[in-house]
Each structure stands twice: as C-alpha cells, then as structure tokens.
C-alpha cells in the first residue's frame, strides 16, 4: 500500500512547529508536513470532522497563513497599484477578497484585505507568504511599512453553531452578533486582545480569530470546552472548501491561470476593471470583455470513484480539460471535482467524461457551490 496522493511533497527541510503543535498532538492529531509546517491533517477522521463542522462548529488552526500589516503615506494608492481592489469602498471594519497578480495576470496568491485604522491587514496563504512578502516589498514604495505578524496565531471557528459558541466568550465594544459576513472587529477572548473576522473557508457561517501566539492554546481550550466545538484537521478543511466551490491556491489557481478563467472576476473590483493600473490589467480587462477559452467549473461524477487533481476531462475523444481538485463529498455521498474545461463545454448540465486510471467516468458540469453557502449576511 502506498499513497499517490496529490498533496505537496515538500523538500526535506526543517519543519517549523506552529504555536499549537503540542496542543494538536495531545488531542491525537496526525501531523503532516504542509506549507513548511507540521500541521494536523485529522483527529478522529476526515468524514466525522467534516460532518461535525457542517452540523456544529469546528476549530481550525490556520496559523501557517501569513498575517501582514501595511501602513504609511498614501497607503491606498500604493496598494491599489499592486492589487485590483477598490480601497475607496473598503471601510473601516470591512474585509474583502483580493488577488496578487503577476504582469501577465496569472495568480501569485489570493488573499483577504481588511481596513484597520491607518493600516491594511492582509491574510495570505501559508505556502506563498514568503514570496508574497518579496513581491509586495518590491512593488510597494519604500515609505510603506510592511509588518509580518509572525507572533500572531490564526484560528478559524466554522459551522452553524460557531456564533453561539464564540459569543459566550467574546466581549468588546459591541456584541459579536453585530458582525456580519466579511466584517471584523476588536474583541477580548480570555482577557487577550484579538481581532475577529466573520469569514472562513468552509461555506459555513464562521469566524477567523487573530490572536497572540502565546494565547492560542488557552483560547483553543476555551472554545473546545464548548459542547458545539471540536478541533478539525486540514483533511476536512479541504473537503469542506471543495463542497463550497472555493479555490485552493497552487491547485485550482496559480500563475498559469487567470482569475477570470477561475470565475473570480469579483476579485477585480468594478472601478479597477475600467481604470486598470494593476499588474496584469491588460489581460484581465481583455478577458472580461471577450471571455476566456477555458473556464473553471464544478463536476458531479457518476458512481463512487473520485477523480483527483490531474485527471483529464474529455468530450468524446477530444480532451477538453483537466481536474484541479477532486474528492469524495461527505455531504453529498458522491464524488465531486473542479476542473478547467474549454468554454464551449462549460455550460451547466453539459455531459462530459473524466479519465481515472484508464477508465472513463461520466460526469456533469454542475453549479457551485455543491453545498449551499450559509454565510451570515444579516437581516
């Protein structure tokens, strides 16, 4: 028996422990190398953890992600020269999805940008954070300061009962319930100053909590003592985000894909589509106007055999695309996948085939998310 999975097989480099390393091990986590760290892939099992998060609340350690703070004179103009974001419409307390693009419009990373007082707070992917810092430092003027918050941990509490569990502990100027999807605020948890954003990567209502690394174990214990909350590993994080139709950097999006192909046009804010002035704008604007030759689509497969990253997609004898993420959906009890396919086969309902180990599996282009998002947008 041997794995031929599609996880990143990193070079043998010294893996850094995350702030909660011992905490994960004490709770029976199986640790694997991911993004240069030892990370928990699962505790009791991926399906059980997946279902728990959909029904209750799961606590995810995402401290491998990069937390950056940018500040300095003419900050908005400086950042708009690098990201296709409209910062004039990003108010204090708001968070927005954005994209770091190269000169050809390829995706270097996807990230979250939040407006802090006199600063912007960014959360970038763990595997790309060092490159991102290099790209940002080079692109931003010298008088813009970039702080890497390497002494902060990041915890995500996700699921329909996350708000109930967190509200018992979070105190601040206003109640946690004042936060709606993609808003954030300052709170106190167990006496520590934390920022909480109502966002996540599961499709469920939930929160991302940035806190001092030395407080992470105490806060994780506090939250996991709530009856709704269990720790959840990276394995379920991946199956949850796949059901939610959310892209995984390095797999679904990369320098070889444009955000327009990936259906991430909302990441190019409206004013920037006409004004341009960010890396890759020429290609992006052309693709918005003229469309793209291929599109990133959801696939539902017949039978039970999953198609994984790299599986080829066919219409008859013609190869029309490639799977970028795929697996078995615990919620649907069936295999699902995301793939780039040529745009003439991208319409919902199109019947195609996916090849797995020489076998052709019937599949249908399907709407995403596969499992509806349940974000808390307020009444």
């Amino acid at each position: 028996m041997s794995d031929h999975d599609t996880e990143d097989h990193l070079e043998e480099i010294a893996l850094e422990p995350l702030p909660l390393d011992a905490w994960h091990r004490a709770r029976g986590a199986r640790m694997v190398p991911f993004a240069g760290y030892e990370m928990p892939i699962q505790y009791e099992g991926i399906v059980a953890e997946h279902n728990w998060t959909r029904e209750n609340a799961g606590l995810f350690d995402v401290s491998h992600m990069g937390q950056l703070v940018l500040s300095g004179p003419d900050l908005d103009a400086a950042v708009e020269a690098v990201l296709p974001i409209d910062l004039a419409t990003l108010k204090l307390g708001q968070q927005r999805y954005s994209l770091l693009l190269d000169e050809n419009g390829g995706v270097l990373d996807d990230l979250m940008v939040s407006r802090w007082p006199e600063a912007l707070y960014l959360v970038v992917n763990g595997a790309t954070k060092w490159d991102d810092m290099g790209t940002l430092r080079e692109a931003l003027p010298d008088d813009i300061t970039m702080n890497y918050l390497d002494e902060r941990a990041l915890l995500a509490l996700q699921g329909p009962k996350a708000a109930d569990a967190l509200a018992r502990h979070a105190t601040g100027e206003y109640p946690l319930s004042a936060l709606t999807f993609m808003k954030f605020g300052q709170f106190k948890l167990a006496g520590h100053d934390v920022t909480i954003a109502r966002a996540g990567y599961t499709g469920e209502d939930g929160f991302e909590i940035s806190l001092p690394a030395e407080a992470a174990a105490e806060v994780a214990d506090l939250l996991c003592a709530e009856p709704e909350v269990k720790p959840i590993g990276l394995g379920a994080r991946d199956s949850l985000r796949l059901e939610a139709g959310l892209p995984l950097y390095g797999h679904d999006i990369s320098p070889e894909t444009s955000p327009i192909e990936a259906g991430l046009t909302f990441g190019i804010n409206k004013r920037r589509r006409t004004e341009g002035g960010y890396p890759g704008a020429e290609r992006i604007n052309r693709e918005i106007a003229e469309g793209t030759a291929r599109k990133w689509v959801g696939l539902k497969l017949e039978g039970r055999l999953p198609a994984r990253e790299g599986a080829e997609v066919f219409a008859g004898s013609e190869k029309i695309g490639t799977v970028t993420s795929g697996g078995f959906s615990p919620t649907l009890g069936a295999p699902i996948a995301m793939a780039y396919v040529s745009s003439d086969h991208a319409a919902i309902g199109t019947q195609i085939e996916v090849e797995v180990r020489g076998k052709r599996l019937a599949a249908t282009v399907s709407p995403t998310p596969f499992v509806p998002h349940r974000y808390h947008r307020g009444s």
Partner: protein, 123 residues
C-alpha cells in the same frame, strides 16, 4: 491457516492452494474513511510487489500491491456496496481478492504476525 504480512501493509491468508488478500488494521487507520475500492479483474495475473488494487479514501488514492504472484480467482463483491467494510473489518469481511499461488517460495519473503507487529511498532 497461516497469515503473512508485507511491508506495504497487505495481509495474505494461505489455505491449500488459494490465498486471500486484504489490507491491515494499521493500513486502514492510516487511510481513513474509504469510499471506493478498485479490485482486479477475475482472471488477471498479478505479480508480487506490483499494483493489484486501488483504495480511494476521502483524502487520496493509494495502491495496494500483490503480496505474491498468481491469478485472481475471486473478488469481494461486498466492497462494491460498502467500501467502508475495509475500515470496519479490514482483516476479515473487508478482504479484497483471492488468488492462486504461482510460486510458494515467495511467501518466505513475507512477515509473520509477530514480525509485522514489531515492524508497525517501529514506524
């Protein structure tokens, strides 16, 4: 009935001239929730150490190797209906396939239960 083990975590029971093959308790624990098992065709010749089956978990696909050389004579139809049998009963109801024993000397290269237990403890 002697049971042998491979260092790739397959087990093989030998009864007269027929062998039954599956994966070990340790292997199913490592794989996690199994959602599909791709079994060889009855009649297929499989070769010691080469691909014989594929196990798909939620997370990944994993190869299962032939512990010995021989011809596949029967596959476990119950796994088509319920692949999770490999999780719940890996060394009994969750068997994969039966096969002939082309070269009995190949069995000598495999581990017995005590050796396999020691092998797993060292992992």
């Amino acid at each position: 009935m002697p049971r042998y083990y491979t260092d790739e975590h397959e087990w093989i029971d030998v009864e007269d001239d027929v062998a039954t093959v599956g994966i070990t308790e340790y292997a199913q624990g490592q794989l996690g929730d199994i959602v599909f098992v791709e079994l060889p065709e009855v009649g297929a010749m499989i070769e010691q150490g080469k691909d014989a089956a594929v196990v798909e978990s939620v997370k990944a696909a994993s190869d299962v190797y032939a512990p010995i050389t021989g011809e596949v004579t029967e596959t476990n139809a119950a796994l088509e209906e319920d692949p999770s049998l490999v999780n719940s009963s890996p060394e009994d109801a969750g068997w994969f396939f039966r096969m002939t024993i082309a070269a009995p000397a190949e069995l000598d290269k495999l581990m017995d239960e005590d050796a396999y237990k020691a092998f797993v403890e060292d992992l």
